[in-house]
Point group: C2
Chain length 470, copies 2
């Protein structure tokens, strides 16, 4: 039954692993239900060889492919478009942890391995895989790499890119590139690995990866500090980095209004600080409890003496540390309960953040009086989630409809003028492809298009994502 | 006077910055005097705009270009070939430190900035630029990035690649790509930065870079430990990493015969250990002297109790630390005094190193009885300098002439069979282009060639280096 393409696909994967009807929402709709597409079919290969066969079939029949991992992306890069022509290539059955090498501090896993499973595999060897994301129970390593995921431990351990040593990739021509290196140093030719990382499935399909593991810290300590303003929070960051160096594993900020939203929608969450201008969540790793406490108190003492910190609580137990992190992690939900908002995932040089926020404070209200910014994020990485909630008396739908384009432009103008990024960790996908074409220099765009053309001349890998049609 | 090309070049840069005769050794011969080429001319632009003009002139006149920094490369990638057709494009006049941004922990420098000058600029702000190389007084940041330089601090801070946040590059078409990002996170399109890093001037010409700075450690402690064998040294590495984590900033090994060469050629260097099988140089960073000593003694005590370490000295002063490092840094000279040898700059998964050395021990002597391996390097990165000295009674010239090809093949076969690299940190250049074509998979080679063709369709950027003619 079906077209010659579908017949060949079934012959290759077996009927059970080619889905064409029934409820396909799990593959056609992103988890936030912002993108609803329609797939030609869903292919569920179980091995690298099967992925290569599927890609060769697609090349022969000119069928565009959207690779999909845990379908937790935020920019619509992992679901099909509305054309009904795209094949969803799900990596979900490729879940193996192929090897953990404790002496080399590496693990080789397949693309569909869920992030949490890799964390657990490292843990079983007394080691740490430090990528930490809200979606870690669902998202996959392949997707983490395709989107160069960030999260809350980037300050110390880097993004998915920096945690990856080697890749296995199926090329647009359906060949297998075995670049599964476990090497820290290898200067033999061009860096193909980093070209695939962050390319969101448009240059090749990641089927496996060798990831770095780290020693597990002896002791981790979490604190929440109140800072009177963003300048003070940046001063605290400077002090914490200088004194703790690599011991500083997290430095998150939450602006006062975001804390108010938490209080409104999650009153059961204990907020230990009294209405701070900004709250800073610090996480510190050290050899043992005593040295962790000594080092953290030195930082907080110094910062308090200099007026950077007005109040602080240090978690006295693992449960208390989890409570503090829960505040940070509940903000996305709290703002969702407050109503739809306009999101910006921006990065700036740390030295430009205060000035950026001052400009936003001075200008956005002139565009939409009463608009309410929700500001939080990874200050240590210069990465803020700068979201705009409708004025109290304006329905969210009206706010988005009338003001989203102008506000996006104003925010991104201010970001780019300071050397910043309009997509720090979420990627481009379908959502920001037009913005990328507008914002990137013609030189950069031309190079990206040339590379895309060189590696995928038929243009079948996730077309329309990252780079919009020329 | 001269060809239209040279006339145009002089009009662009001024007569004084276009060299065509006189003593051109400084540009035509590499510092070890292994590669002697002949240049059409040497161009010395002083700005990015001038570099772009020179490249456009070369494109118009089909003149191949070899970019050159401090001319300290080890693989002949920075000097012209013998054709007399290549233009040497020296970045030596582009030395500015454009900006140091302490809050963002970044410095933006021009490509011709000498590594030591960047170290000094960071130091002046109480910060650290951690790239550390023997050639740091001469080599330039542009060359460090073009070759993805490594050195002795990679274990903690990464290679040049990991220290770079953004680049400014003149493309093969003579356009300027301003990718000088100071961002830790930026997921807007393909990773062009990492494509240029390590491409040895074959994809574009790096004119400036934004590099990461780090907090300066409060205290640094150095020790030399005696290990009975390579397995013990790897056991010590495992223990040191687990206990010190990011506090371990260096882990170098020196095999016994290399120490004997030091004793023979540099008898004035004090060797504090008595004829160890392997010596391990450990460097540790910590908040202060007391915690550094406590942490290091815990590692050495544990390793001694388990028989991994049989003797150790801890430097009691900065001068003593320098003496220990001098042992490590004098090995290249000691082996040169012993006579020419066959060099291998290899990387392996740490877990494969002992097995590799056992195979070498068992097989190389059957090829050349009495051959003397000089083994040392960055064990923490899996990177060994595995060099082969002629048997005592064989002239080095005869040894190289008769046995170099077969020994290279045997060593690289054993490396590649274990997932290793035949060029860990020195790059490919002219020396290893043929080896790269032999050793890389056809899939990888085809992608590299496609990328080269996409970004430099005329093939004028450092032709013949990295990728040999197809």
């Amino acid at each position: 039954m079906g077209t010659p393409f579908l017949q060949a696909l079934r012959a290759c994967l077996g009927d059970a692993n080619v889905l064409v009807d029934g409820d396909m929402d799990a593959y056609e709709v992103d988890w936030r239900k912002r993108y609803r597409g329609r797939a030609l079919a869903v292919a569920r290969p179980a091995s690298t060889a099967e992925v290569a066969s599927v890609v060769r079939l697609c090349a022969a029949h000119a069928v565009p492919i959207v690779p999909q991992g845990g379908n937790t992306g935020l920019v619509g890069g992992g679901v099909p478009d509305a054309s009904g022509r795209m094949l969803v290539l799900s990596l979900a059955r490729m879940q193996q942890v192929r090897r953990v090498d404790p002496d080399n501090l590496t693990a080789t896993v397949e693309a569909g391995c869920v992030l949490h499973a890799l964390q657990a595999a490292a843990d079983a060897h007394g080691l740490l895989f430090p990528l930490r994301l809200g979606s870690e129970g669902t998202c996959t390593i392949g997707g983490n790499l395709a989107s160069n995921a960030g999260g809350t431990q980037v300050l110390r351990y880097g993004t998915a890119r920096e945690l990856c040593l080697g890749l296995e990739v199926v090329t647009a021509g359906g060949e297998v590139w075995d670049g599964l290196s476990g090497l820290r140093k290898d200067n033999t030719g061009y860096d193909l690995r980093d070209l695939f990382i962050g390319s969101e499935g448009t240059l090749g399909i990641i089927t496996a990866a060798t990831m770095k593991l780290h020693p597990r810290p002896g002791w981790t300590l979490t604190a929440l500090a109140a800072c009177p303003g963003i300048d003070a929070a940046i001063g605290l960051l400077r002090t914490a980095r200088a004194r703790l160096d690599a011991g500083l594993t997290g430095f998150e900020v939450i602006e006062g209004f975001a804390l108010q939203l938490l209080a409104r929608h999650f009153p059961q969450l204990r907020q230990p600080l009294h209405a701070p201008g900004w709250a800073v969540l610090l996480e510190l790793a050290a050899d043992d409890q005593a040295s962790a406490e000594r080092r953290l108190h030195a930082v907080l003492g110094d910062a308090t003496a200099r007026g950077l910190v007005t109040d602080a609580v240090v978690a006295g137990s693992l449960a208390q540390a989890r409570e503090l992190w829960q505040l940070r992690e509940s903000i996305p939900l709290a703002q969702a309960r407050e109503g739809l908002n306009i999101k910006h995932d921006i990065a700036l040089p740390v030295s430009a953040i205060a000035d950026f926020l001052r400009e936003m404070d001075a200008t956005l209200h002139t565009l939409v009086p009463g608009l309410r910014p929700v500001v939080y994020g990874h200050l240590g990485d210069g990465n803020l989630h700068f979201n705009l909630q409708a004025p109290q008396d304006m329905p969210a739908a009206v706010f988005l409809d009338r003001h989203e384009a102008a506000l996006n432009q104003r925010v991104h103008d201010a970001v780019v003028a300071r050397g910043g990024s309009f997509s720090a960790e979420h990627g481009i996908g379908a959502l920001k492809a037009a913005e990328l074409a507008r914002r990137k220099s013609p030189v950069a765009l031309a190079m990206m298009r040339a590379i895309r053309q060189a590696l995928d001349p038929q243009g079948l890998l996730n077309p329309g994502r990252v780079l919009p049609p020329a």
